[in-house]
Amino acid sequence: MSAEHHFRYVATDRRVREDRRFVAGKGKFIADIALPSTKHVALVTCPHANARIVSVDKSRALKMPGVHYVLDGHELAAATLPLMTGLDTPNVPRRPLAVDVARYSGEWVVAVVADTRAQAEDAAEEVDIEYEALPFVLDAEEALEPGSPLVHQAHGSNVLLDKTFVWGEVDKDFAASPRKLSLRVKWGRSSTVPIETFGVVASWDPWRDMLDVYASIQMPRYADQIGIALQIPVTSVRVHYDVDVGGSYGVKRGIKHTVLAGYLARRLGFPVRLIEDRLENMRGGDAHGPERLFDVDVAYDDAGIVRSMKMRALENVGAYAGRSPFQLGKPVGAIVGPYKINSVQYRAIAVVTNKTTQEAVRGFGQAPTNLAIERIMDEVANVLGLDTIEIRRRNMIKHDEFPYLIPSGTTYDSGNYEAVFAKVLAGGAYEDLKAERDALRANGILAGIGVSACLEPSGGNATFEALLNPAITTSTFMDSCRISVDGMGFITATMHTTSSGQGHETLVGTVIGEQLQVDPEAIRVTRPDSLNSLPSGTPVGSRMAIMLGGAAFHAANKLKAKLLAIGAHDLGIPLARAVYEQGNVHDRDTPSHKRTWADLVQIAFRNYHRMPPDMEPGLSVSHVYQVPNGSTLPTAGGRVQMYPCFSFEFHLMLLSIDPMLGRPEILRYRLGHDCGTQINPKIVRGMTMGGIAHGIGAALYEEFAYNDEGQLIAQTFMDYLLPSSHEVPAVDIFDHETPSPYTVLGQKGSGESGYLGAPAAIANAINDALRPLGISTNRLPIKVSRLGDMIAAAQAKKGN
């Protein structure tokens, strides 16, 4: 830490209150919700990459033991509206069950309801569906070709989005630059794949007109979307936010599961539970992440100063729009990374193919974009014979240049990249790594150093929506907190969404404790249901420390102001002389002249005659907090303030590759991280280490691979490889702290840290290791098998 703190609880090494229930196995996860008479859903899925549904025969399934209902897409579509999507693509409707055509292998076609999940699965095998296989397309570039099979005939093409932005004098900068370089970079299809699959329990009470929903959800406007699709008032949807979510990192957006379960619960009159098994989660659960092809051109000079960049990003979103096309929009807010690139042309294209639908994944498209930027920076250095760290130093924004306006219209709040570099490189660390690399190489081992310098936009507003779809005018993105002191003087605070491991209850308690100068452990934090909640944008966009923390901060200050007013009035002193200290209010001039917390509670709850005139009795306050510094719509030229805060991370690693097996191993890992004030350092460290582990997976192991028939071939954890404790090395983390000027405590986001830069650093390290062989790779994941083949081929060519 670099900053001097005057905090009591914030930024101190405190436990995370949620942990106690989890170590005892007493979390309340979706599979632990057991409503009486609950029935279970299993799904029948399409075995083809694209097929017309000719007929559905339910008769044998309906005769199976325990079976209550078999639902097809026609019945569901007649009773519900299509799911909400962000783009105006009315001819690409997305529904929970396929209607007439199923567009990817694994898409849900029929749902079976039975007394037990096992019975539902047995009966699902007895549903007879006749299909007529149709031509299909899997590759994004092929989907762009004229004559490609159309995923949605009525849409007329496979293109959902094709927008080009030009920020600054790109052509002029390219013409004026002596050097140009082009690179093609591919981010492979992977996802966050939480260990808990998505699940939902829905229960309809016809006498109260109430749909109770319990879900392992992480999604903005969840209750709204349920109400809209089921065509019931949102006041008839009650989402219970006190369900612990077993990991999400963006993807737990089971709206199609929920609309399906909600419809069945209303139709059948008993609670309905749909919990994905692992295959459903990986295939038909619609939770894949970006699959993105970049073509990047940069114009630069002999000193390695990058003047301008053209980036074309082609996203393969899968069979339906979902929310994924917007993942092309968010990176606009950090499109130049930490560098002073003068002008940018950005073309964002989203196409549909016959693959699983995507959802939001950690970073919302930023990690792939960071990979593309960081790969081309390394290639520029390589061409010029410049050191990989030196080129970044030359291009990066300096501490005294903040706040810094980038060409796409976003202002970076603060940063001190050179200080973070200095911490990571201190004590000759870089020279030591180079010496170690060279010693390995001398022993016949391929070894490389990889660096990446990346930004984590945080505090999530939603202006990418308006940027990519001008029909959307959303500039508001809120979070809220309510604090109530009861008549006994105890404090209860609320938050208004689910959490999936981010420690939000600890966050709220810590911030309020800090502001009120009371022990955070004494503050109860609850999660009212959606009908009793204030607005929450939910934990997306690395925003809760900023947004929920901001709401809690302001609510606490409102409470403090009220206590001061009551105290000053009862003490008979001007408000300006009243001082709040640890729950008591005293006279600045005579500190012994005071009212204690108990006195103030007594006045507020029972002595109205002692209250200031016209003040509400009781001690209840709330605050609805808008995203700081980001409340305007994009300009006509596509300039926009995307997110308010920008955390920085600098990765430096040494990686070796076994030249026979092609097996990469990270030998040394140093990370510099600056997310401003760390409200809870244990949480920040965990997020960062988890992000690195996730990034290692995306770079080396994880891929939703398809075969030529359009079948997903990574369907289990034996084919889709998640990093274990053996694959995640020890990481030396060097914290630096540049407070954000726009947030209440100087905090920035850290929910995506590590993940945003680890894949780029690994790709750079592998390319450094391969350079002596004269080969390179720019396609993630870089799997052992492919790496081994590449190395063998290169060695054979060299005659080794």
Binding site: V23, P65, T716, F717, S725
Partner: protein, 174 residues
């Protein structure tokens, strides 16, 4: 298989669950995991993949950490099964290992956590002074998607240190 399943009767089994002998009627195809969760309301064991890779369903089976999703309940007949509920000392009371996980924040979402705690119990029962590598090896069959494992490894090392200290004569304690 389903055509047969309709006619297969439940089987009666006897299990030692957390030190208490329980008699149960279960379908032969019921996994030990489903039996623990659905028949015995021991919901600390979690389903993650149900094909034996992620380890979220880990329980101690005759003292050994095993995956309860990979065996049938009837295979546990006559055996001793210990779950997270069985290693928790009492309501609101944590074991040294559980407390160490809280101290280092060796978790985030909590879904893999009970299994990690049980693996730590199994490890430390046989090896009171594990090296970092031994801890990494012990938890390598349990996937945590949140933490990147660092704070889990530290939790187990801390628990080992504290347990050694607790067992040492008072004059040797720090």
């Amino acid at each position: 298989m389903h055509a047969i399943m309709r006619w297969v009767r439940n089987m009666r089994i006897e299990l030692d669950i957390n030190g208490e002998v329980r008699e149960l009627d279960v379908e032969p195809r019921t996994t030990l995991l489903d039996c623990l969760r659905d028949n015995l309301a021991l919901t600390g064991a979690h389903a993650g993949c149900e094909h034996g890779v992620c380890g979220a369903c880990t329980v101690l089976f005759d003292g050994v950490a095993v995956r309860s999703c990979l065996m049938f309940a009837v295979q546990a007949q006559g055996s001793a099964v210990r779950t997270i509920e069985g290693v928790t000392p009492g309501p609101g009371e944590m074991s040294v290992i559980q407390d160490a996980f809280c101290e280092t924040h060796g978790m985030q979402c909590g879904y893999c956590t009970p299994a990690m705690v049980l693996v730590a119990h199994a490890l430390l029962a046989n090896n009171p002074e594990p090296t970092r590598e031994e801890i990494v090896e012990a938890i390598s069959g349990n996937i945590c998607r949140c933490t990147g494992y660092a704070q889990i490894v530290e939790a187990i090392a801390l628990a080992a240190e504290r347990m050694r200290g607790a067992n040492a004569p008072a004059e040797l304690r720090k």
